[in-house]
């Protein structure tokens, strides 16, 4: 029994040591020095050897391939390693930043986020973004400083807290074989859905695509996009939203599965369209349609549906979290991503087909030629056609209010 006290001591020491070691690991690191740069050369110098983690939606194969095969090698020339971190929702990336800020980490693992809209606004509310850095980027010279899409992001002033990356246009597409005479307005689409029960549905908000569809219906039932004030107010919401939820509740029994349930996201909606269970699909990334038709996933007769009342357009950005540990590298990635070469490469329909944020008119003749000679997609018309009669996004505050109202007013009838 003489070994018993020693065993006690050993167990006790172990029992105390483990939590202590674990607790030390939880201690907040000391905050690092300010990362403000005076000039671009200093950024380039610091960026050398840094690894940048770009967190972005991972469900778009073309986007993934573009970043891995074209953007990453381009930034490697500056000594920057670009790692793509796929997420199912941009909020996941922002949540990671919040968690690290909560834990007091100044050496954050998220260096860039493909972001816009309410995620950007929430990050700004929480002071999670590094601001005032985009003026340093040489590539910013080729953007239009007066472009409203680049000045404010869903009504939230950009303030140099994110660098523009690409433009998007909300688009509906239909199976022309099933719909020989497609509707031409959004109200017409809803009427068509009622006339053809079970052949239409939309993703459940807060999914990004479902959410924008609900905002389009709001514009439609309110008598046009101009009738909905971009800035959010409780009065405007209370005045306009009842008509929206009434219309959508009325529509529900005519939807796929009688509106009993909804696809959870754009991918599930696309699956239903691919399976010919529905005849109209919708996306904020029309560029993906080209490939989906080409590889036989979508019906060969898939056609973009231009609406007379126009659809909403926006720009998406690269946001730099304030606690990133590779600020200079992230700036270099944002700058390269905004360069003419990268914007042209990304606009190729067989690469990603994304619309540029550059001001094409202000480019040199040679650079403009690159954009002018881009091949046309057999499915998706050019940005000028898609963005005809386009309207801007509502303020970001509208989004959670409309989404939550939809849950209580339509889903939970």
């Amino acid at each position: 029994m003489s070994s018993t006290p020693r065993r006690y001591r050993r167990s006790a020491a172990l029992a105390l040591a483990v939590p202590l070691i674990a607790l030390t690991a939880c201690a907040a690191p000391e905050s690092s020095a300010s990362t403000a740069y005076e000039d671009w050369d200093a950024v380039l110098e610091d960026a050398e050897g840094q690894t940048v983690q770009l967190w972005m939606y991972g469900g778009d194969d073309q986007g993934n391939a573009y970043v891995d095969d074209i953007l990453a090698p381009a930034v490697a020339e500056y000594g920057v390693t670009l790692e793509r971190v796929p997420v199912t929702d941009t909020a996941d990336a922002l949540n990671r930043v919040f968690t690290e800020i909560q834990a007091g980490r100044d050496d954050g693992t998220v260096d860039l986020i493909w972001v816009n809209g309410d995620n950007f606004r929430t990050g700004k509310e929480a002071d999670a973004w590094l601001c005032g850095w985009t003026d340093l980027l040489p590539s910013m010279a080729a953007t239009d400083p007066d472009d409203p899409l680049l000045q404010s992001d869903f009504g939230t002033p950009v303030d140099g807290c994110e660098a523009p990356w690409q433009k998007a246009q909300f688009t509906l597409a239909y199976n022309a074989e099933a719909i020989p005479n497609p509707p031409t307005t959004l109200a017409g689409v809803l009427d068509w859905a009622e006339a053809n029960p079970g052949r239409f549905t939309y993703p459940a908000p807060p999914d990004f695509t479902g959410s924008v569809f609900v905002r389009e219906v709001l514009a439609s039932v309110s008598g046009g996009a101009d009738e909905v004030p971009a800035a959010y107010s409780d009065e405007a919401f209370d005045e306009l939203s009842p008509a929206l939820y009434d219309r959508l509740s009325e529509l529900a029994p005519s939807l796929w599965r009688g509106g009993d349930t909804y696809p959870a996201n754009e991918a599930e909606l696309g699956q239903l369209f691919a399976d010919r269970q529905i005849d109209i699909t919708m996306t904020y990334g029309p560029a993906t349609l080209t490939d989906l038709v080409a590889d036989g996933t979508y019906p060969p007769e898939t056609t973009v549906l231009p609406l007379e009342d126009g659809t909403v357009g926006n720009a998406s950005f690269l946001g730099l979290p304030a606690n990133s540990d590779s600020v200079a590298g992230a700036m270099v990635v944002a700058n390269v991503a905004l360069s003419v070469e990268q914007q042209v490469a990304k606009a190729q329909p067989d690469v990603w087909g994304q619309f540029t944020v550059l001001d094409i008119e202000s480019l040199s003749d040679a650079d403009r030629e690159l954009f002018d000679t881009l091949p046309e997609s057999p499915v998706v018309p050019g940005y000028e056609v898609l963005s005809e009669n386009a309207h801007g996004e509502l303020a970001a505050e509208w989004v959670p209010a409309l989404d939550e109202g939809w849950r209580t007013g339509v889903l939970d009838r």
Binding site: S11, A12, V18, A91, D127, R257, T261
Partner: protein, 291 residues
Amino acid sequence: MSFAPVARRQGSAGQLLRGAMLVLPAALVTLLVVGGGIGATLLQALGLMPIAGPVTPGVDAFLAHPDDLAAATGVSIAVATVSTVIAVIVGTAAAVVIASGRAGSRLLAALGATTVTVPHLVGAATIGLLLSDAGVLPRLLGIPPESWAPWVGGPLWAAAIAEFAWKESAFVALVVTGTLATRIATYDETAALLGAGRWRRFRHVLLPLTAPTIVICAAISFVYALGSYEVSWLLGRTYPEPLPVLAVRLFQGVSLSSRPEAAAVALVTCAIALVAVAGTFAALRRTAVWR
């Protein structure tokens, strides 16, 4: 009936202390990890750990979505209960067949062992591909999507229950087989020699002796199904959402207030799981083997 294969010993104070000390390291680590996690969640739910802005203590987060929370609790408990009951019945039956050593028992054991190694996420994706409206099964059977029962995303949560029941029944089968392979087998043989039929032996020998194992397996299976996110998310419907799906949706919500609400939902899930585990131990103490 009082039956105790392993007698309970009291032990001296020294022995008890020594036993406690040996468990202490494991208990402390568990307490640190689980307690730390739940503690941080509790702080967030009570508004004591905001991402930005001042600390605002209160229980607002628990009261933010009472209807959603009630619906989520109902559907979570229902799905977990139904899948657990199916898993226990199928798993126990499979274990009896495996332990009997009859023809096919090896095949069944191999099937069970293989099933246990398949991750739930893979299982959910497979069940989804198999049973969805335009899935493999309706296509093989030539049934059009609109005529196929809504297994995936349907009001009865059939696909999610099928996935949980399929995976957990293999788990129950393996654990119960392990119990049946102990000295219980000899009691079974004794009963057989004394002239007890199959059903009698199952009812009066096998079932009472394996009851603690079955109850523990059922608790694990229930708590797992209650807390599982990916299966319910992939195979479930948009409304009502089970607790973990509601928690994750709120956690990913864009407003800064939604994190505490997510933490509150997670705590409710945790509380239900704790009640289930406490109930299990209460039930265990009533079984013959425990006494």
